[in-house]
């Protein structure tokens, strides 16, 4: 039997062993106080701004056009915030990455499909990235307390939470694949470029009629 997913509800008809595992997982989350990953967003924004400034200065010094200056800038923002979104599970970073991708599409409409492929890859990464599991664990531990049955089930056996095994502070959490998380992440990342592409198409279409 695999360890129960503490983030889901216990399925109907679960065996006693599964129920116990489920309860233990939830108890670990509740008692060990999982914390969401703390990505230093100010530092990320600061470093992105510094890199953008350097990049812009170099490109402008090389007498490049505005589009040529903006293009790598968007790429830098998209990559930086895309990674923060994927690895750190920071929702607002997905917003920034998507907006940067939209900027890329405005400059290079042909880039839509590669961008969508990139968004899909990042979204798949979100499906297994440990940061998401930690945020969800934090949510689960805060959203609903253990039921009396769950506490009683766990109380039957001693808990041995080995924090040293964990990849970071707090309890070790298995990373559960979540398809709905992947779809949602893809929508967040892909929405802006799709919107930008649709807007460009619509403008062209109305002008062409």
């Amino acid at each position: 039997m695999t360890a129960a997913d503490p983030l889901a509800g216990l399925r109907p008809g679960a065996s006693p062993a599964e129920a116990e595992s489920f309860a233990e997982s939830r108890m670990r989350l509740a008692t060990a106080g999982p914390t969401p990953p703390r990505v230093p967003m100010r530092r990320v924004v600061l470093w992105s701004a510094v890199v953008l400034a350097v990049e812009s200065a170099v490109m402008l010094a090389a007498d490049r056009s505005l589009d040529e200056v903006l293009l790598p800038g968007y790429l830098i923002l998209m990559a930086a915030f895309g990674l923060v979104f994927c690895l750190g599970a920071v929702t607002v970073a997905g917003f920034a990455a998507g907006a940067a991708a939209a900027g890329l599409v405005v400059l290079q409409p042909d880039a839509l499909l590669p961008l969508l492929a990139g968004a899909a890859a990042l979204a798949l990464g979100c499906g297994i990235a440990p940061g998401w599991a930690r945020v969800e664990a934090w949510q689960a531990a805060h959203a609903r307390p253990l039921t009396a049955e769950e506490e009683a089930a766990v109380g039957q056996r001693a808990l041995s939470v080995d924090r040293s095994r964990g990849w970071s502070r707090g309890v070790r959490l298995r990373n559960y694949w979540r398809g709905d998380r992947v779809v949602a992440a893809f929508l967040v990342l892909a929405f802006h470029p799709c919107m930008a592409a649709f807007s460009l198409w619509f403008i062209d279409w109305t002008h062409g009629r």
Partner: protein, 688 residues
């Protein structure tokens, strides 16, 4: 017992010297044991709880259901050395009664009964109190009547409240309905439009008509451009605020550690107001939903606010025999029949240091009250209200509930968090807003003429220099799952927003000076922009349809650039709305709802339908309260009203073990026999 104010004379036995504080509960306990209503073991346990929680012993034994209210007051009367009386409202001298304000009597739970001759033939005022007879009451009576002799008898708090509701009925209703309108007419929605607003509207209309006659193209340009700017600003403001809120999605205003550090003995009394109208059978549901609240039962007061013209719900509530911490307050009939009016009546009777409103079907997080208390402690003296997040427990029931949940998640998890971070005025949500009771009374309570009294109160609090904050706790409600019901509810909310804007823009400069330009802009764009956005959206869609079907058809009337801007505005606005809904699923990791965000434009069109209904009602029936039907969800198991054959099914609120036997006699205590006069010993015990 007769007590006399300073300078007065006494004709009755004076209070005995007060005993030590620790003697009081033990004395009461001894009396209860002597009377055979409490066992020694129960007394030991109750005393332990009394010392642990810091609540009076009477409250402990009542909360545990070990004694009835009548038994408790019989014992208290003996302990306090006073006579016991059960008050019949018809016995109250109305001329005497109206010298005393109902609000003060409700807060202090006593009332004047009559003037009688004492043994020496001197007049004395008889007062019934549900607390320990005190010099304060005597002084108050002397001050208001000029009669120096005061005889204080003990009665139950329920008797006091019943008499107040009966004898002071008109005053209670008047205070609940007219208090704000009389004290601060500028802050009340009782006047829908003030004359400068009417004049401005007429001038605007006249200018538009004149312009259309003289120069239709220019007028259309100005109109369409204005609408576009307003919509763009409203959508942009919402996007900005929500994005700021998104950045703080894992920030906890109150941590579990801070909650765990609270000691029960330090917790204050908390009052929960539950306004209910035509929701028979809701009491059982209420008890189940509030049963998990982590708060000492002895310090919890639940006021179930029922309407006088709703006997079905009242019957059901009585038959459910709620535990003793639930008090049924029947709100006298009056107009406008709105929830804030009922809440104002409840506020008059509230004894808690803090007060919160829940709907009967609400399921608050167990630690919500404690988190709110911690938030108040951290928030400073200007913090008047803490708003918990609302979300839905039946999100996946149908498409409408999914969309509604996404919208609520976006609003409460991101928009309100953003408003909090930006220190902008926060329009409160319908329930789960926790108040400091004294500050709420100072603010004038809720405006019964405003159909979103909560949003109005949040803005009013900000305008008066107070602050509203959010707390990381959630109350789960029932999402509206029927379109007609949803439109009714939404039209009320939008109408309330319109009322709120009209009220708080009566003196724009005053608002600007009191809250500052940034807050004024935030208020105007969020509260004012929201209805405007909904009203404008169909026109932008109409332009899109015309432009798609008949390309260039609008150009003669409008410049081409404006048509393009309008279409882009519509496109971008919908893009922003979709995107905010996409993000909304992330805070609570309800990813399954996220794809439905793509349907947000359709959902927002439904808002436009409701907004036009709201606008119409604002003009023709501004104070009408569109009742939202609850209990439609299959997740809500509302118990039926028990028939006489069923017998009452007591609703328990753990750890209260059983309902008091006299709970069902709440409304009719006449048959309770008056016990023999008690002894005259006095202690400081008080059941409150």
């Amino acid at each position: 017992m007769t007590v006399v104010a300073p300078g007065g004379a006494s004709s009755g036995p004076g209070p005995r010297p007060a005993r030590g504080r620790h003697a009081a509960p033990e004395r009461l306990g001894d009396v209860l044991v002597e009377q055979g209503v409490l066992t020694p073991d129960q007394l030991t346990e109750a005393l332990e709880q009394h010392h642990r929680v810091g609540a009076p012993l009477g409250a402990v034994v009542l909360a545990r259901g070990w004694v009835t209210r009548r038994q408790l007051y019989v014992a208290l009367a003996e302990v306090w050395g006073a006579d016991l009386a059960f008050v019949d409202p018809v016995d109250v001298d109305e001329e005497l009664a109206h010298r005393f304000p109902a609000a003060m009597l409700a807060r202090e739970t006593w009332l004047p009964l009559r003037v009688e001759q004492d043994d020496d033939g001197q007049p004395q005022v008889v007062v019934a109190t549900a607390g320990r007879p005190s010099a304060h009451i005597a002084e108050e009576v002397v001050q208001r009547t000029g009669i120096p002799r005061v005889r204080q008898v003990v009665t139950t708090d329920w008797d006091v409240q019943r008499a107040l509701r009966t004898v002071w009925r008109d005053e209670l209703v008047h205070d609940a309905v007219q208090s704000l309108a009389e004290r601060r007419p500028d802050e009340s929605a009782s006047t829908v439009f003030v004359w400068p607003q009417v004049a401005a509207a007429v001038a605007l209309l006249a200018a538009t008509v004149t312009g259309l006659v003289l120069d239709p193209s220019l007028t259309m340009l100005v109109l369409v451009a204005t609408v576009n700017v307003a919509v763009a600003l409203a959508v942009g403001t919402k996007a900005l605020i929500s994005t700021v809120g998104t950045a703080w999605e894992t920030v906890e205003q109150v941590t579990d550690g801070e909650v765990a550090a609270l000691e029960d003995a330090d917790l204050p009394i908390y009052t929960i107001l539950v306004p209910v109208y035509r929701e028979a059978g809701i009491v059982g549901l209420l008890m189940r939903n509030l049963a998990d609240l982590d708060w000492p039962r002895e310090k919890l007061e639940i006021l179930l606010l029922l309407e006088e013209d709703d006997p079905e719900t009242l019957t059901a509530a009585l038959a459910a025999a709620p535990p003793d911490i639930v008090r049924i307050v029947v709100v006298p009939h009056s107009l406008p029949k709105t929830k804030p009016r009922a809440c104002n009546v409840g506020l008059a009777f509230a004894r808690g240091e803090y007060v919160v409103i829940y709907d009967a079907e609400d399921r608050p997080d167990p630690d919500q009250l404690k988190k709110s208390v911690v938030a108040f402690g951290k928030g400073g003296d200007d913090l008047v209200c803490v708003q918990a997040a609302l979300n839905y427990f039946n999100a996946r029931e149908n498409l409408l509930t999914r969309m509604f949940t996404l919208e609520y998640s976006s609003w409460f998890d991101y928009t309100l968090a953003g408003l909090d971070k930006l220190r902008l005025p926060i329009p409160l949500g319908g329930t789960s807003n926790h108040f400091r009771t004294d500050l709420l009374r100072d603010l004038g309570g809720w405006d019964p003429y405003n159909v979103t009294e909560d949003a109005d109160l949040g803005i009013r609090a900000s305008a008066r220099g107070h602050r509203v904050a959010v707390v990381n706790s959630t109350t789960y409600e029932e999402a509206n799952m029927a379109v007609g019901n949803w439109v009714r509810q939404r039209s009320r909310w939008i109408k309330g927003y319109m009322q709120t804007v009209l009220v708080h823009t009566r003196h724009p400069w005053r608002l600007l000076r009191s809250v500052g330009p940034r807050q004024t802009a935030g208020f105007a764009l969020l509260i004012g922009g929201t209805p405007l956005m909904f009203l404008a959206t169909p026109w932008l869609y109409a332009m899109l349809v015309v432009e798609l079907l008949w390309p260039g058809a609008l150009v003669p009337a409008l410049p081409e650039w404006l048509v393009q801007v309008s279409l882009a505005n519509l496109l971008l606005g919908n893009g922003v709305i979709i995107y905010l809904s996409l993000l909304a699923g992330f805070k609570r990791r309800t990813y399954g709802l996220v794809p439905f965000a793509l349907l947000s434009p359709l959902y927002w069109l439904l808002h436009s339908v409701a907004s036009y209904k709201a606008l119409w009602q604002l003009l023709v029936n501004p104070f009408y309260w569109e009742k939202t039907t609850h209990g439609l969800s299959s997740h809500v198991q509302v118990t039926d009203v028990p028939t006489p054959d069923d017998g009452p099914e007591p609703a328990a609120l753990p750890p209260t073990t059983a309902p008091p036997a006299d709970a069902v006699r709440l409304m009719d205590p006449h048959d309770v026999p008056v016990p023999p006069p008690p002894s005259t010993e006095t202690t400081s015990e008080d059941p409150r």
